[in-house]
Symmetry: C2
Subunit: 330 residues, 2 copies
């Protein structure tokens, strides 16, 4: 059993990058005059919506599952997820030839349930407000002889997500830009934020790091200020379904604290506006949670004047009706 209290390092990210190189897409870094003009700075967008399964999550999934023992592979994997992590685990498990069971909230976005099912995983539903997904998952894993791969609280998962940051810093350099002055990342349980924070603290130490959360779901932001893990008062009520964690994971909180990450929040309307902007100017499809950091940029939650800004757009698995609503306002 791996010691989950051990924080991953930049070396773990580099090892992960080699390990999963053939499994994942080196997603492009996009830029646009319209975006630069909007913030009077220079903005680079890591388009993880173009990742396999439509979100960054396959990075962590492959990095963890590729380290399963033969016995673990036979037993397969269990996880819980509002969609993107589950879909990634399902896709990676299928390719690596192991069974997968995904627990999903009963109010999951339909597109995500269908995409997860398309990878051949077993799916069970839980009530986001009343059930303890962690406990149900642990019970299921025991009964199936399976190994749990949590969405965020795992050093290999965090290291896998961090591979996107290594790529992004190298891509920004290739584009001839200076090192980013700031980074904005959508934040649910904090795994993606932690992976990026580890890479930036090492390779771009002067950058300000921002975890962007929906209003009322700013558990990470408030926890970082308080210096201890706090929970949200509500469990639903934001369209950013991918970012509705109850509380930061212990491991991601430890990493994000150590790296000096700060929090920002966005509203549903700001997320919709960012989806519409990406449709019009970047030509990528974003889901509300995946657009959270771009929303913070477009809403100028911090001053970006003259700055080089790294923004992560983390996923694009959105229901057509919600997307149509977002672009109808153009």
């Amino acid at each position: 059993m791996k010691d989950t209290a051990m924080l991953p390092t930049i070396d773990d990210l580099r090892a992960a990058q080699k390990r999963i190189a053939a499994d994942v897409v080196r997603t492009p870094v996009l830029h646009s005059e319209a975006l630069d003009r909007a913030v009077a700075g220079r903005v680079f967008v890591k388009a993880e919506c173009l990742q396999l399964t439509g979100a960054f999550k396959v990075r962590g999934a492959y990095n963890r599952l590729r380290q399963f023992s033969p016995a673990q592979t036979r037993g397969g994997v269990v996880t819980w997820s509002s969609g993107n992590h589950g879909q990634a685990i399902a896709a990676a498990a299928k390719r690596l030839g192991m069974p997968a069971m995904i627990l999903m909230p009963s109010d999951s976005v339909r597109a995500k349930v269908e995409l997860t099912r398309s990878h051949g995983a077993d799916i069970a539903f839980f009530n986001r407000e009343t059930d303890d997904s962690n406990a149900i998952g642990t019970d299921l894993a025991e009964r199936r002889g399976a190994t749990i791969v949590p969405p965020a609280n795992d050093p290999d998962v965090i290291a896998g997500q961090g591979t996107a940051a290594l790529e992004m810093l190298s891509q920004i350099q290739d584009l001839g830009a200076s090192r980013p002055d700031m980074l904005l990342v959508p934040c649910g349980s904090g795994g993606l934020t932690a992976g990026y924070a580890l890479a930036f603290r090492e390779l771009c130490p002067e950058a300000e790091l921002f975890a962007v959360e929906p209003e009322q779901f700013d558990d990470t932001g408030r926890s970082l200020v308080a210096g201890t893990r706090l929970s949200n008062a509500v469990r639903k009520g934001s369209i950013c379904d991918a970012l509705l964690a109850k509380t930061p994971a212990p491991l991601t909180f430890a990493v994000n604290s150590a790296c000096g990450v700060k929090g920002l929040t966005i509203t549903d309307q700001e997320a919709l506006n960012a989806i519409a902007f990406a449709f019009r100017h970047l030509k990528v499809v974003l889901e509300p949670g995946g657009a959270a950091a771009l929303a913070a940029v477009l809403s100028k939650k911090v001053s970006m004047k003259g700055k080089t800004v790294a923004v992560v757009c983390s996923g694009g698995n959105v229901d057509p009706a919600l997307f149509a609503k977002a672009i109808a306002e153009l």
Copy 2:
């Protein structure tokens, strides 16, 4: 005056690639399990919708405008375009510090008019059915002391578009795949097709080359069969606004004939289905014309079983209402 009867060669494409390297985006090549499964082959998608201005056209625009003399630069540029070429010329002219006048059909997609205007070009409108855009453009250019850069009938424009093909073949190789057995490209006046055909004939000579056009607008396909340039009977009536050329350009027809290109056609509904597929599985925004080649793939206009297939998605400047209509059927 450049001799437009002279066909561009692979060396012109390579020179163009160096010339415009800092001006354009090296767009990604996307792939997806769902797409491979749909055709029982291996499909690679060159996502030119992620190019600056949302379409491949900046490649040809920069390659031509960067070769203007100082006197030409002072006089500026005139062109006619349903949108994507005009927007590209406007953006490139602005960056290179020269005036630009764009003639657009009066029934142009609103999104394209607005995006063209945002680059600061002068815009005039003509009637697609009754006016001769070529004659109006020539007259305007004379009065302004400007140089015409036509959308397709120019060796530098064709060579510029062909840089996307050079990138794509190298990217497919980097992904560890075998050389494409076939290529499908959306086709209007044939400039993009000609650029790709030149690259593929040289670097991947055994590949079958297909120009994909909307039904009733298959002037290139019919001309290639007839061995002479034919015109379409109609001037409007397809949602693929970017592909409504009346007839192949002399130069593109000469290139596409010499390279053995064949024609395929798609319906409006097939284009809408391809837009929806790209939304769901590739997470990119396509316009109907930009989705034409993908539509031909998904509708299996040719057998792709076991083949490696290169598909070009050429643009993403689509009106929100039409896009919403396409994805509502999911």
